[in-house]
């Protein structure tokens, strides 16, 4: 039986992102799976939305051994696509260092630091599962802007992760 990699990675990604980014600020930044109910929504809110997944490439063959294990298995590169959304309410304040960040300044800080956090995640810290992450790509932030009706600042990025789906 293959491991439950999609859930393992999704949970580790959310925990890793929350842990790293909250360690850098005074105040709380909230990380949600898709999508928070309105009662749960607090700002700043980071939403990790899994949008697709599937096989990327099969090059490991069937019935082979992995590493020092004598157990035969199969595997391939499997990919997951996420969209990471930032939502910041007009009045949200977060203290970073000695400065208070709000609105577009806070969004700018979050965009870069989310990218940094994702690249630095040590997956074994967050899930006690053997996990071999092969690649991770955070594409450019887009839709950086302001929604007047709800007075939210925000941005969205596409994020891909590739892992060894061993079973």
């Amino acid at each position: 039986m293959a491991k439950d990699y999609l859930n393992i990675i999704e949970r580790a990604l959310m925990m890793g992102l929350s842990d790293k980014i909250n360690a850098a600020v005074t105040g709380d930044i909230y990380v949600h799976g898709q999508f928070p109910q309105s009662e749960d929504l607090k700002f700043p809110s980071l939403i990790v939305q899994q949008v697709s997944s599937g096989f990327e490439e099969k090059f490991h063959g069937d019935s082979i051994t992995f590493g020092s294990s004598s157990t035969q298995g199969s595997g391939e590169v499997y990919g997951m696509n996420f969209q990471v959304h930032i939502i910041v309410d007009k009045d949200t304040e977060i203290t970073i260092g000695s400065d208070v960040y709000k609105q577009r300044r806070l969004v700018n800080w979050l965009m870069l630091n989310i990218a940094n956090s994702i690249m630095e995640i040590d997956w074994s810290v967050y899930e006690e599962e053997e996990l071999q992450i092969l690649e991770r790509h955070l594409a450019s932030w887009r839709d950086v802007g302001y929604i007047e009706a709800v007075q939210w600042y925000g941005a969205t990025a596409d994020f891909q992760i590739y892992f060894l789906n061993k079973r």
Binding site: E10, R11, M14, M15, S18, D19, K20, I21, N22, A23, D28, I29, Y30, V31, H32, G33, Q34, F35, P36, D40, K42, S124, V125, Y126, E127, E128
Partner: protein
């Protein structure tokens, strides 16, 4: 109704009382709100050290429904919130039956829409159970009204003592079961209700659905009991509300598949048994084994002291002919 509630200019409760003598569009529906389960959250890393920041909410529910204090900054708060299932809500429904078939990815589904006119919220909050439980504040979108779409078997009222066995098929007639969804009755006794059993014969063998009272259920005043008999598994639980408190009933035996009871001498509904803890006097009335319609509330317009207008859609619905054919 207590005198502190303003009845408004049209006095909706009085209108409903008067209308029900002339039209069956005035319904006694069952109000249902699903249980609200714990959210799956994490506050620690793999080595059990704390995560920085608030608890991470993964955004999906667990199957547990336990209270958590959330006292520390990064811990989780949850107030145990079981299902609400409160009967005796009198509403005007137009139309009663609305069916349209749609072929969807899940197959052909019967859907429909209707409007409910209800008394004002202030009036409803004074009704039995609605006013007594602190879980009910107002109607919300996705709450449900369960209506008796069609009364399939309506046994006579009973005044007797001890356990009661209500015969559905006499031995010369073999009544089918595929049409029915739920059992409803009002009961009054000084004894505890210990179980409710629906018996049937399926392929020539005796089978049953047994709801066992997990909490002590002593209906010294009239108590409405309404329980499903399909789409349940052994150990499923349902709540029966008495004085604003949910009393849990657990499905202890689920061997009967009512869809397979098409009504011949080997496949039929045989009896309904209401078991009590002793042999005191018992009264049963409004016994109804029925086909239900489940209406999901979609939009709610509240005209304050006057009435509420609720638009609802029928979200689940299968075709009775297919139940019979496919079992």
């Amino acid at each position: 109704m207590v005198s502190t509630v303003n009845t408004g200019t049209i006095n909706m409760p009085k209108i409903l009382r008067q209308m029900r003598h002339r039209t069956s569009n005035v319904r006694d529906v069952l109000f249902q709100r699903d249980a609200i389960f714990d959210k799956d959250t994490k506050t620690t890393k793999a080595d059990d050290s704390d995560l920085s920041g608030p608890a991470v909410n993964f955004g999906y529910e667990k199957s547990t429904n336990t209270s958590m204090s959330g006292s520390a900054d990064n811990t989780v708060y949850h107030k145990s919130t079981p299902e609400l299932m409160i009967g005796g809500l009198k509403v005007l429904q137009t139309p009663i039956i609305s069916r349209s078939g749609k072929l969807e990815r899940t197959g052909a589904r019967i859907s429909g829409e209707c409007k409910f006119y209800t008394p004002s919220l202030a009036t409803i909050r004074q009704l039995d159970n609605f006013g007594e439980t602190n879980q009910f504040d107002e109607f919300e979108a996705y709450d449900k009204f369960i209506d008796i779409e069609r009364a399939v078997y309506t046994p006579s009222d009973i005044t007797s003592t001890g356990n009661q066995t209500i015969t559905i098929s006499t031995g010369s007639t073999y009544n089918p079961g595929y049409e029915i969804d739920r059992i409803q009755f009002k009961v009054k006794t000084a004894d505890n209700i210990t179980s409710i059993t629906l018996n049937g014969t399926e392929g020539g063998s005796g089978k049953s659905v047994v709801w066992t009272a997990t909490d002590t259920c002593t209906p010294t005043d009239w108590l409405l009991i309404d329980l499903p008999i399909r789409d349940i598994t052994a150990s499923s639980t349902k709540e029966v509300y008495q004085n604003g408190t949910g009393l849990t009933f657990t499905a202890s035996t689920v061997t009967l598949d009512v869809d397979k009871l098409y009504g011949d001498n080997n496949n039929y509904l045989s009896s309904l048994v209401i078991a009590t803890s002793s042999s005191s006097a018992i009264e049963l009335k409004d016994i109804n084994i029925y086909k239900s319609a489940e209406w999901s509330l979609e939009s709610i317009k509240d005209y304050r002291d006057e009435y509420m207008l609720i638009k609802a859609v029928r979200v689940r619905g299968d075709r009775t002919s297919r139940r019979r054919a496919y079992g």
